[in-house]
């Protein structure tokens, strides 16, 4: 794929816009790509990254990436015009049917797979609210993008923006009338587990996107399994999105 642009959001996050040579296949919200990392001494495997947004008109996709280790660091240095090898689209997707008033919750870079979802829900006339959490203002990414599709709520640990605390401490969860009928979330596992508990209490749907370690990304190696009610399932093919009820130890 051709790198159309690589925009540094701040020192920790960057946004890649990529264009395949051919027409984009149909991509579902929550799907991901396995991205090759070139020229890195110690990064041997591809890196799984969610599709952040899709633009069929311009035939581009976006990836929103946090710099974690060598692989994502190398990726952050890629330049406009360079090429990048992706295996995509992979995995299942969030379900957009049946919901009417949805809360999307992203922890840090966990918002990555939610933007495309927000847009599709919005286009289906489903009410979308996005709750974004982070340590500090610099972890709150793309809030304006999400505002295009609905309200945006924010929490930060240091209260530099939004309410102070974890996403699960946001006042929306304490209000008498919690209006949402489904939660879709991606982020650190403890955060998603806490949301799953809330969803259970409220008896609403909750879909979580897991970030298990992957080797192949296509169901061939069985490295990325998660323990479910039906035994070990591959996160890369049966996920990354799961209803929390399927997952052992989540409810």
């Amino acid at each position: 794929m051709k790198v159309v642009s690589n925009k540094n959001l701040n020192t920790k996050y960057f946004l890649l816009t990529l264009q395949p040579p051919d027409n984009m296949p149909v991509i579902l919200p929550g799907q991901f790509a396995q991205v090759e990392i070139k020229d890195a001494k110690n990064t041997f495997l591809r890196r799984p990254l969610s599709v952040h947004d899709v633009d069929y008109k311009n035939n581009t996709i976006k990836l929103l990436v946090q710099i974690i280790g060598e692989g994502t660091k190398k990726l952050s240095e890629i330049k406009e015009g360079d090429s990048l090898n992706l295996v995509y689209p992979l995995g299942n997707s969030f379900s957009t049917s049946g919901a009417d008033n949805v809360l999307l919750v992203g922890g840090g870079c966990g918002i990555a797979p939610l933007l495309y979802l927000a847009r599709l829900l919005f286009e289906k006339n489903i009410k979308v609210t996005t709750l974004i959490g982070g340590s500090s203002e610099s972890d709150i990414l793309e809030a304006d993008e999400y505002r295009k599709y609905g309200d945006v709520l924010i929490t930060t640990l240091d209260a530099s923006i939004g309410e102070k605390g974890l996403v699960t401490q946001h006042s929306v969860f304490n209000s008498d009338k919690f209006p949402y009928t489904a939660i879709y979330t991606c982020g650190p596992e403890p955060m998603m587990k806490a949301l799953a508990r809330i969803a259970k209490e409220m008896n609403i749907r909750c879909e979580v996107s897991l970030e298990n370690m992957m080797a192949c990304g296509i169901g061939a190696c069985l490295c990325c399994v998660v323990d479910t009610n039906e035994g070990n399932k591959c996160t890369c093919t049966k996920g990354p999105v799961f209803n929390y009820k399927e997952l052992k130890g989540w409810s």
Binding site: L45, R46, L222, V225
Partner: protein, 306 residues
């Protein structure tokens, strides 16, 4: 190039005829189907499907994978639905793939190996099995069979009695003397040996002060192991008369050719499939180009040539 000048890539392993020496390694290529989107898998010399056991296994707990310099550790632990499910559900789906579909067989006891092999013996479209006596990721059995000559002989002899098609025995590299192991299973009736399975390794998360794998140790694969694999293939090829199948860290045609020059009749591609799901046809093409450049009409001319 005119077609009549195209080198002959065909090789033989026991009763098998391979259209080219490139196979895929067990546990890295699923049942083949996973890769059908990426290339025509019937162009392969053979496909070794996932390790199959007597009954369903859940495998080890997550995390099962860690990246290492030029390699990876895995601790999948033979997750599979068991031989009966293979026969009823998977076999019908894959049996008409036009290449050698070979089943990798594992077990915790000799009886389990015998049970699986006897059942597979009945499947028309499975022309061979690969006996995995070298899996480092299961507590009982697995590697234990492959690290002592008497037990390797015992399991090979037992299978030879019940399995009448091509029997490949996959050796563990975690031994002092690989040539001795190969000779032992040759004597016990193997038609071919394949090597190497993974090297037993380990990695630690120093911040959490915990091993990166749920099983603490796991199997190392990828380019890091290639020098060891190549050395073992060379030692074994000198020691036995049966054909040797080489694998371990093959990423491209040049690597595959190294193994063939060292004495491998065929090769398997494992971890490389994760980096590039369409790597196998490139390897086949690369071998072809190499033979043309070196003016070889037949791939067999380069086997063991160093």
């Amino acid at each position: 190039m005119e077609l009549k000048n195209m080198p002959d890539l065909c090789v033989k392993i026991g009763g098998l005829v391979l259209k080219n020496p490139v196979m895929t390694a067990s546990g890295t290529f699923g049942y083949g189907e996973e890769f059908a989107d990426f290339f025509d898998i019937s162009t392969l010399g053979g496909i070794i499907v996932k390790g199959t056991t007597g009954s369903k296994r859940e495998g080890n707990a997550y995390p099962r994978m860690a990246e290492t310099p030029s390699g990876m550790l895995n601790a999948v632990g033979l997750q599979n639905k068991g031989v009966d499910n293979f026969i009823s559900d998977i076999y019908p789906r894959i049996k008409d793939i036009n290449t050698n579909m070979i089943v990798n067989v594992s077990g915790s006891t000799i009886d389990e190996y015998i049970m699986v092999a006897s059942k597979l013996n009945e499947l028309d479209k499975i022309p061979a099995i690969e006996l995995n006596i070298s899996c480092p990721n299961v507590k009982e059995g697995g590697m234990a069979f492959g690290t002592s000559c008497p037990s390797a002989i015992a399991v090979t002899e037992a299978i030879r009695k019940v399995y009448h098609k091509t029997l490949i025995v996959k050796l563990s590299p975690n031994v002092t003397n690989i040539a001795e192991m190969a000779k032992a299973v040759e004597g016990a009736g193997a038609d071919s040996v394949s090597l190497i399975n993974t090297l037993l390794g380990m990695a630690i998360d120093i911040e959490r002060q915990k091993p990166l794998l749920s099983t603490i140790t796991g199997g190392l694969s990828g380019p890091a192991v290639k020098p060891v694999a190549l050395r073992m293939v060379w030692q074994v090829a000198k020691a036995v008369k049966i054909p040797v199948i080489g694998l371990g860290g093959i990423m491209n045609a040049a690597d595959a050719i190294e193994f063939m020059l060292a004495g491998a009749t065929a090769i398997q591609v494992g971890t490389a499939n994760f980096i590039d799901p369409a790597v196998c046809p490139k390897i086949i093409d690369g071998i072809n180009d190499y033979l043309i450049r070196h003016r070889n009409n037949n791939v067999n001319e380069i086997i063991g040539k160093i």
